[in-house]
């Protein structure tokens, strides 16, 4: 199952591999910041954080959540949402926290390296 994200505006309908694998990191970060949250909340938060430039497809989000749970990074239980709906709430486990630290570091290294290659375009 690929963690492919559909990008919203302004580059609509363009799927790119750059985003592959990053959804897990976004999920972990979201749970770290907001605490236990249901799938809808996670999707909403990711879309907001991206400034509505990303759209999270439920067909991608839920398998990713399940994968993280199978790996032991998050755990889930049924609970009640703010407006009294029964929903499955996900929370970060200790292994998940470690994983988040690790992945954040990795991401920083990657972006640092890439930054060396992709210099901002100079005004002509």
């Amino acid at each position: 199952v690929s963690d492919c994200l559909h990008l919203g505006n302004p580059i609509k309908n363009q799927k790119t591999d750059v985003w592959q694998g990053t959804l897990a990191l976004m999920v972990l970060t979201t749970l770290e910041t907001l605490g236990p949250l249901h799938g809808f909340g996670i999707a909403r938060r990711i879309e907001q954080t991206s400034g509505q430039r990303l759209t999270v497809n439920p067909g991608t989000l839920y398998p990713t959540l399940l994968k993280l749970e199978q790996q032991g990074f998050i755990a889930s239980d049924w609970g009640m949402s703010d407006n009294n709906r029964r929903a499955r709430f996900y929370r970060l486990t200790r292994a998940g926290r470690r994983q988040l630290l690790h992945e954040t570091r990795e991401w920083q290294i990657t972006t640092d390296i890439l930054a060396g290659f992709v210099t901002p375009e100079e005004p002509r």
């Binding site: 809808f40 398998p63 199978q70 499955r88």
Partner: protein, 893 residues
């Protein structure tokens, strides 16, 4: 780790332990509802909110699908579904499936059993730590030489052993072993023990650990000490700790027990050792010290342990160099030292002269197993084809409903795999049972009793079952996939009078299988006849009532000792000959079926020395055997410079027996006996008898008169009348002349029985495989014909309704299969003949004079097989005759 955990969770998900379906539905539903809430909050009406949410969410179905795929392992789920389906469909044709499982089980079980036997006999190392670094050395001497051989010519002399040990850099340690039988006397009781006389490095080389006490150390080589086996300790001494320090009277000398070698080590031979003695000390005590300084004699087996950084190759290279140094004083001789990994087999399960036979047996066994698996495979393929023919309708339906070919192939492969699995399970049972049976039947020094199926056996069985089934199952799968959907669905693929699909292929499979069965059965019959022949073959003299009497030597050394022994042996010979019931007693240095003497001789016609065999016998040896000369005469007592030759030698050098008389033979110097080279005259020619290998006439041999110099090794050959208590008489006579002498008596027939062990193993294995081939052929052909009858019930009904006779119906059903069978039988017979003729030399050792083209074996094999096939075919075919026309026409399958 994480991915492993994730996979485990997914497998758990497969069985519904994670995220049940309702949970997935409810979670996604909650997501949609929350979307709706959001739109409602933004001011849309209920309906608009619902539509907008649905649009935003996208396809619920595909989301559920993706979610579920992540929950389990989709590929595994497909396989599981196919397997369930396969089991259900296999249950519908139990006879065919049972046939296949049985066939596979018998085939894999037998091959696994044979593989297990050969593995432990041939490949498994000694039961010692790091056994892969334990090697054994053997000598190959070629060129012109004369050498005394005790046991077999590949062994070392003590001086060669020390020279090798001092020179070898690739070996951590080197040890020599001489296996002997010793007599243990405790009070008045006598028991024969198997002893190993070993050099001081022996236990260090093998890294054996003591169960109690200690093993030999460097200083022990000259002390009268003994190490006993754990078996002896437990069985005879009851495991008592006070066994240490106990004295044992072995061959009239006292040894003190210093330790017990821990199980499972029982020596380097498969024949377990009871007691280990220091070679040097034991030789001195037994009056054999001279053998330690003799250079040109083969008597010690040599084992060594490679240095950690050395390989077999480097050790072999070094061995070649050191071997060359052995020839310094023998310019015409060429000595090679061969180094091989020590295994139970070449450690002496069989002596080296039997190794050729064993390699033959292994090769035959491997070939037979291969052939058996081939039969099983073609059998299973034929049965699968038969089954495939009836399943075209089902497959066509699945294809029509949209199943991909890959998916259908997956289903068919699942079926094959299930059959293979069941076959492997049956195979393990068959293997266990066979090993049990073999252990009881074949006396291979307790080797087989120690075999038990382990994980490797199960893996082998499963692996061979699966590979055979899949390999041979591929053709039927292809056939099934080529189904013509439309016609199969309309007419269910069967038209009146049509040939069954792939009939020709099936016929070929039957033919191959029968051909291979013929070969296997011929092999089994031949080997069985060989073993039988070994007991009835005429070696040129009667083996019944013929005994060998040996006695131990008294410890006097040197010429005085030889003179005493000469006198003693003469006394015993004459004393025993005068006993009632004893016909004749002779002396010989080389006893029948034990050891051989090899020497080069010169004749006028040849410029070089020609290697032949020799024996040293007295004037009564041939009368004791019951052999009389065909030309010339026998020795008179103490005749110098004369020789008797056998017919084979006479023909080799002079063309015929008569021409040999009064010719000269040049004999080389004999260091051991202290004789210079000499020229002797042939005074007699005796027939070529069999004293080395039963069933094989001796090589060219000359017989010299025995004298004081060669008396050391001599044994008595005793010819007696029926029911003469030779053993008692012989021991009494020995004691009459030396009250402390210890002797052993063995009948030549027992010795022959002992020397046929390898051949009996081969015959037993071949017999079992031949029997199984027969059974497999019967089961397979029964299955094919039974299936053909079911498939053609409608045709048969029509034939019967149109007035066909029973014979015609039978012919229709049986003809294709039987034609294949008969063609196969003929082809197999021809092939077996060709194989037998081309490998005649290799089979010589196990056939005991039976020719590989033995007509009885061929006719017997073909006859038995055809009879079995006809019965196997007739039983289901009879059902065809019981078919009523009306039922047959209604028959819809």
């Amino acid at each position: 780790m994480r991915s492993l955990r994730a996979f485990a969770m997914r497998v758990a998900g497969l069985f519904g332990f994670v995220r049940r379906d309702w949970e997935i539905a409810e979670e996604l539903d909650a997501h949609v509802r929350m979307l709706e809430d959001e739109y409602r909050r933004a001011g849309l009406t209920d309906g608009e909110a619902r539509r907008a949410a649905a649009a935003r969410f996208g396809s619920v179905g595909s989301a559920v699908g993706a979610y579920r795929d992540r929950r389990g392992v989709p590929a595994l789920e497909n396989w599981m579904r196919e397997c369930t389906h396969a089991v259900r469909s296999l249950r519908r044709s139990p006879v065919l499936v049972l046939s296949m499982v049985l066939v596979l089980g018998l085939g894999t079980g037998t091959s696994t059993a044979v593989a297990t036997v050969f593995h432990s006999a041939v490949w498994s190392g000694l039961p010692v730590p790091e056994s892969d670094r334990v090697v054994k050395m053997s000598l190959t001497i070629t060129g012109e030489f004369s050498r005394h051989v005790r046991g077999d010519p590949s062994r070392f002399s003590y001086t060669e052993l020390t020279a090798y040990r001092d020179a070898a850099r690739t070996l951590e340690s080197v040890a020599g072993v001489d296996h002997q039988s010793v007599t243990w006397r405790e009070d008045t009781e006598i028991q024969s023990l198997s002893a190993a006389l070993v050099t001081g490095d022996y236990f260090r080389t093998l890294r054996v650990r003591p169960a109690t006490g200690r093993l030999f150390a460097e200083g022990d080589s000259r002390r009268p000490v003994a190490v006993i086996s754990q078996r002896l300790w437990l069985e005879i001494f009851g495991g008592a700790p006070d066994v240490l320090g106990r004295g044992m009277n072995l061959d009239r000398s006292w040894y003190s027990v210093i330790g017990v070698a821990a199980d499972p080590f029982t020596g380097t031979e498969a024949n377990p050792v009871d007691v280990w003695l220091p070679l040097e000390a034991a030789s001195a005590l037994r009056g054999e010290e001279r053998s330690l300084s003799e250079q040109n004699v083969s008597w010690l087996q040599v084992v060594g342990r490679l240095e950690p950084d050395a390989s077999l190759t480097t050790a072999a290279a070094e061995g070649a160099v050191i071997g060359g140094r052995f020839d310094l004083h023998h310019p015409e001789r060429h000595t090679r030292i061969q180094i091989t990994r020590a295994s139970r087999l070449d450690a002496g399960l069989l002596q080296s002269r039997e190794r050729g036979i064993v390699i033959g047996v292994v090769a035959i066994g491997a070939a037979l197993v291969g052939l058996l698996l081939l039969i099983c495979g073609s059998n299973v393929a034929a049965l699968l084809l038969a089954r495939g023919a009836t399943r075209q309708g089902e497959i066509a339906l699945r294809v029509a409903l949209g199943a991909g070919r890959a998916r259908i192939a997956q289903g068919l492969i699942a079926e094959v795999a299930i059959i293979a699995g069941a076959g492997a399970a049956v195979g393990v049972l068959v293997c266990t049972w066979l090993l049990h049976v073999l252990a009881g039947r074949v006396p291979l020094h307790g080797l087989l009793e120690t075999l038990s199926p382990d994980a490797r056996v199960f893996t082998f069985a499963a692996g061979s079952a699966l590979s055979v089934a899949l390999l041979f199952g591929l053709a039927p799968v292809r056939q099934a996939l080529q189904v013509d959907c439309l016609s199969a669905l309309k007419g269910r693929g069967e038209f009146f009078g049509s040939r069954m699909p792939m009939a020709r292929l099936r016929q070929w499979l039957v033919a191959i299988q029968v051909a291979v069965s013929v070969i296997l059965i011929v092999a089994a019959v031949l080997l069985g006849r060989g073993v039988e022949r070994a007991f009835h073959v005429d070696p040129g003299y009667s083996t019944g009532n013929l005994y060998i009497v040996q006695s131990d030597r008294d410890p006097t050394q040197g010429a005085a000792g030889s003179a005493r022994r000469w006198r003693f042996m003469q006394q015993v010979r004459d004393g025993l000959a005068s006993e009632p019931g004893v016909v004749a007693v002779g002396l010989a240095t080389i006893q029948p079926f034990r050891g051989r003497g090899v020497s080069g001789v010169g004749v006028e016609s040849a410029t070089e020395l020609v290697p032949v065999q020799f024996n040293r016998v007295d004037e009564r040896y041939f009368p004791a055997l019951g052999v009389s000369p065909i030309a010339g005469r026998l020795f008179t007592a103490r005749e110098p410079d004369v020789v008797i030759v056998n017919a084979s030698l006479a023909r080799k050098f002079w063309g015929n027996e008569r021409a040999a008389l009064n010719r000269s033979l040049h004999l080389p110097a004999d260091m051991a006996a202290g004789r210079p080279p000499r020229t002797v005259t042939v005074i007699g020619v005796v027939p070529t008898i069999q004293t080395n290998d039963i069933g094989l006439p001796d090589a060219p041999t000359y017989y010299e008169p025995i004298n004081e110099d060669s008396i050391d090794q001599a044994a008595l050959v005793v010819r007696a009348l029926d029911r003469t208590p030779v053993a008692r008489l012989a021991i009494d006579t020995l004691h009459r002349f030396d009250s402390s002498a210890v002797g052993s008596v063995v009948s030549v027939e027992d010795r022959i029985a002992g020397s046929t062990g390898a051949a009996r193993l081969a015959a037993a294995v071949a017999g079992i495989i031949g029997g199984l081939a027969l059974l497999v052929a019967a089961v397979g052909i029964h299955g094919i014909i039974a299936h053909a009858v079911v498939c053609r019930t409608r045709d048969i009904g029509v034939y019967l309704a149109l007035g066909a006779s029973r014979r015609q119906v039978l012919r229709t059903v049986l003809e294709p299969t039987l034609r294949g069978a008969i063609l196969g039988a003929l082809g197999g017979a021809v092939l077996a003949g060709v194989l037998g003729a081309s490998f005649a030399d290799q089979f010589k050792g196990v056939l005991f004079g039976v020719t590989p083209l033995d007509p009885l074996a061929f006719l017997g094999a073909a006859g038995i097989l055809l009879a079995v096939i006809i019965v196997a075919a007739y039983v289901p075919a009879r059902h065809a005759l019981g078919v009523g026309p009306s039922t047959a026409l209604r028959h819809d399958a």
